[in-house]
Symmetry: C2
Subunit: 312 residues, 2 copies
């Protein structure tokens, strides 16, 4: 094993890049802008230039680098070909071979960003010690990544772990970002948690500290819940029910050892885990009632860590 | 590789046993009664006696047998220990080591029956050519087995693939056999298909050939649907919607290449697959809309085949 590896997390706005030891120590990290113009054709050359320049600055040669791993926001097939990354302008791109070429032959592995983050949390984050886990990232949407025997479950069409798109409401009339109706992420993402709260406040007259905030954020509601605000607690309970029930469905398929809960919302800590787990237990198949619930710990670095772990 | 292997499918009434070549040819099969009395303590000795007697009759020595695989109706942990098989009276039993002992040291592998049947269908049945599939067995309940990269997904608690227990109706008041409420198998098993039809007939006045049957069986309804009976077609459509929607949830987790539909109901053939697939497409995440739907072909032998495949 060579001493160094590169972890890359490609987002729609910035690319996060980390120089790691192959033992998993993050030595240096930086960011560059994601240039999505011209169908995203500058992205891979930009990433390679930036990496080669840092390597040169740190006097690291290509022969000392085990490889580069990259997480991308789209479906990745088992052969490393990316099939549409809307956020960065890509159609079908062979990221592995192109980036490797720009990097002068350093081997490259590519994975879906949510899957790679799950692997990162397993390796060095909240999921350490588990070999089988499902990571749930609560953000604008709901990201999911499934790890089985320490490896990413990609799925036949690159769509394994798309748990935000589990149908949970068969009567919904609004359309999800994916084009379907009634997906989990229409109800239980961090963004939807706040917007549903605003809607609820407009429908009830109860006194609550939540009326003091404008705009009302997810963090405001979670803080109020910690202070015992009745309406905030009801909102959290409702969120925990929707998500816990859906994770019971996930367990009836994949039966992981643990769910790792990440995304900005996970900063709320145990109160969030408890709300989800309590409802999960009510809806889970009997054999799976003791699944662990843990918090993600790597934050925005999870993708870089996982990208490196993919190489090893 | 030795020339022979034994495949065993343990059920609540009978044990199906097959003598195979390790290339997967079924040479001889037979059944014995499952003696569930005395906490099922006679089952493994009975199986071993029966196998040793057939081996002796066929002049096959232990040195010529690669091993014995057994599918059991209960949760099996990764270490081969069985955790409760209610139907055969077992609590916690180390099936692998006990059966191996009774067989004079022939190696034994154990798996959950639904999972093992899925592996059998992948190896020599309707799932041939797929490396990632989900088998759905429509019977009294709904069995499920998940194959990933040609291996059984066991799950942390032996409950992976328990797709009959995905929550699909959050308002149900009746309790499922598992103790929860609103599980998929409360609506879309073969048994429920018939009982829901009887209920529907009592609620409507429409003319239908289904009123000529007493008792009305699943096969009667499927046959009537093939003949174009309007009520039978509505019942089938409703069944396809319930199951197709749930399998869309399965794909959002495991994203298989194919669903293999088995159980007695699958004898109805393409009309059943079409009813499920049509609704599946409406509810599946866009990347997973092209998942194949195929019929199981090994019938009651799938478990024996899969039990042998487990050994290889």
């Amino acid at each position: 094993m060579k001493p160094y590896a590169i972890g890359i997390d490609l987002g729609g706005t910035t690319v996060k890049i980390g120089l790691f030891t192959t033992a998993g120590e993050l030595l240096y990290k930086w960011e560059i802008v994601t240039r999505t113009e011209d169908d995203g054709e500058h992205i891979l050359p930009d990433i390679a230039d930036s990496i080669l320049s840092v390597m040169s600055e740190k006097q690291i040669t290509a022969a000392e680098v085990e490889g580069a791993g990259i997480g991308v926001p789209g479906a990745v097939l088992a052969n490393g070909i990316v099939n549409r990354c809307v956020n960065v302008g890509w159609g079908i791109v062979n990221v592995a071979s192109e980036l490797s070429k720009y990097l002068g032959g350093i081997p490259v592995k590519v994975g879906n960003d949510a899957n790679v983050a799950a692997l990162g949390e397993m390796w060095k984050g909240g999921g350490m010690g588990y070999r089988n886990l499902v990571m749930v990232t609560l953000g604008t949407g709901i990201g999911g990544g499934i790890i089985i025997n320490e490896e990413i479950l990609t799925g036949a069409f690159g769509a394994a772990g798309e748990i935000g798109h589990i149908p949970v409401n068969y009567e919904e009339t609004e359309t999800c970002g994916c084009g379907k109706k009634g997906c989990l992420e229409q109800y239980a993402s961090a963004s939807r948690f706040a917007s549903r709260a605003v809607k609820k406040l407009s429908e009830i007259d109860d006194e609550t500290i939540l009326r003091n905030y404008d705009p009302l954020t997810t963090k405001d509601i979670l803080d109020a819940a910690k202070e015992g605000d009745k309406i905030a607690l009801e909102l959290l309970e409702d969120f925990g029910l929707t998500l816990g029930r859906a994770l019971a469905a996930v367990s009836a398929v994949a039966d992981p050892e643990a769910f790792v809960i990440g995304g900005g919302m996970s900063k709320a800590g145990p109160i969030l885990l408890d709300a989800i787990r309590k409802n999960y237990i009510d809806w889970a198949f009997h054999a799976s009632k003791n699944t662990d619930f843990v918090l993600a710990t790597l934050g925005n670095d999870a993708g870089m860590y996982g990208a490196v772990r993919m190489l090893l």
